[in-house]
Symmetry: C2
Subunit: 288 residues, 2 copies
Amino acid sequence: MNAYLDCYPCFLAQTLKTVRLATSDEHVLRNLLDEVGLALAGRSLDVPPPVISRAIHRIIANRLGVQDPYRELKQACIRQALSLVPRLKRAIEESADRLWTAAKLAIAGNVIDFGANADFDLTRDVDVILAQDLAVNHFSEFRKKLDKAGRILYLADNAGETVFDRLFIEELEKPVTYAVRQSPIINDALSEDAAASGIGEVARIISSGVATPGTVLADCSSEFLDEFRSADLIISKGQGNFEALSEEARPIFFLLKIKCDVVARHLRLNKGDIVLMSSKKERTARPG
Amino acid sequence: MNAYLDCYPCFLAQTLKTVRLATSDEHVLRNLLDEVGLALAGRSLDVPPPVISRAIHRIIANRLGVQDPYRELKQACIRQALSLVPRLKRAIEESADRLWTAAKLAIAGNVIDFGANADFDLTRDVDVILAQDLAVNHFSEFRKKLDKAGRILYLADNAGETVFDRLFIEELEKPVTYAVRQSPIINDALSEDAAASGIGEVARIISSGVATPGTVLADCSSEFLDEFRSADLIISKGQGNFEALSEEARPIFFLLKIKCDVVARHLRLNKGDIVLMSSKKERTARPG
């Protein structure tokens, strides 16, 4: 899915948020906002939004000399999510269908936007999501694919969400490779974040090679691409990974909350909807 | 209140929305978005946001050759609001305090964002607002000032909201001058919109002389400035007028819903709050 002009306001909002994590100097912020604005004015939109996000974050990181402005926020998110684990485990254990509940919790991990609203009510939000219907629900297809799958590739999204992923991976009961970003980009999970979330105990952690907030294949390492091409099932978390992979003909299941009007319109769904959705191309290629 | 860097994403979002009302040509939209971005990059923020909005809308109107892209939308909003009048009148008649209810309905008119969400539920929204507490409530001060006031100046905001204003003006039972924008800017009310809302039957309609979505005094006509300086009481509707007049030492009462984080932070209130608030400077100058 390529970027839309409607992404522009969001790119500027992201710039404001990111720069303010590293400095309170409004003069620096002003200059960076102008620089990002000028960079956007000349850009082609024939790329997924994460490619443009990366370009913006490079400008910011280079100017500020801060490579990972979200580092502390990510660590705090992981700690918050870890504190929920006993409750989440209980929800899985007490449920009629452990895999289904764990899948919904994995989506819950994506719903909870640690960055946007630091003082949300985790407990309440998880309950809301467990009760919320999926706007697109390909879970039975997912379960069938999972039963037959040998190798599973799991594409991480945000730090903190990683803790929810860990619980889902335990329920998959298959060998899983868990791919994170190569270097810092917004609050996306890095290798250290996956490890701190306990992913190392249930999956093999690799880097996708990218610093885009979405798995942009053109930038991925050959190690990752081997995994991507050979996996029997790919679980893709979050909007950024969806934006980057929506047109790929691989057995991908996208688990995400729709967080913006652009993706909502692209999918003809509503902002706020949650989905567990198999790849369109995969469905076209192998119906049923 | 001067503009903040946080207004930038909003200016771009406003550009997208306005241009799309006039054309579906994405190439034109792209060029205009870039042009607005470049204009923003060089701008001083030492002005209220409406001044920057006007500059943006001039760029758009000139490029598109469409002076009033919101014209049809404004007319539809007025029709929608007029259809509610019997219900609104009943609410006033059945209330224990007509002036208070009419004031809250006038705020309701500002709450209902006709532009942002065309298919909102008018009936429900009005009920919600009538039930909502004001985050800042200087109504008793307002009533006292009104009792003693001879000449009242009423500053209009959006088309459609004008219908709610009319009902409030009837309850004021004083001579009212109703000031609208001089020329088209977003969905702000013009003279024709005030007339179509029946304002002419209860007040004298004048133009403020501005094409800013907020009464920026530096741009106002001398006729308006005479009214502004001599009025015993000024009723100011909406965020744009607040942004333009927040620092003025006149007996102004601001009636608005706080629609963005920038104004919320400026007032140390929350987005979504509704207020009936006397001018800070006026309060400082004449306590009690």
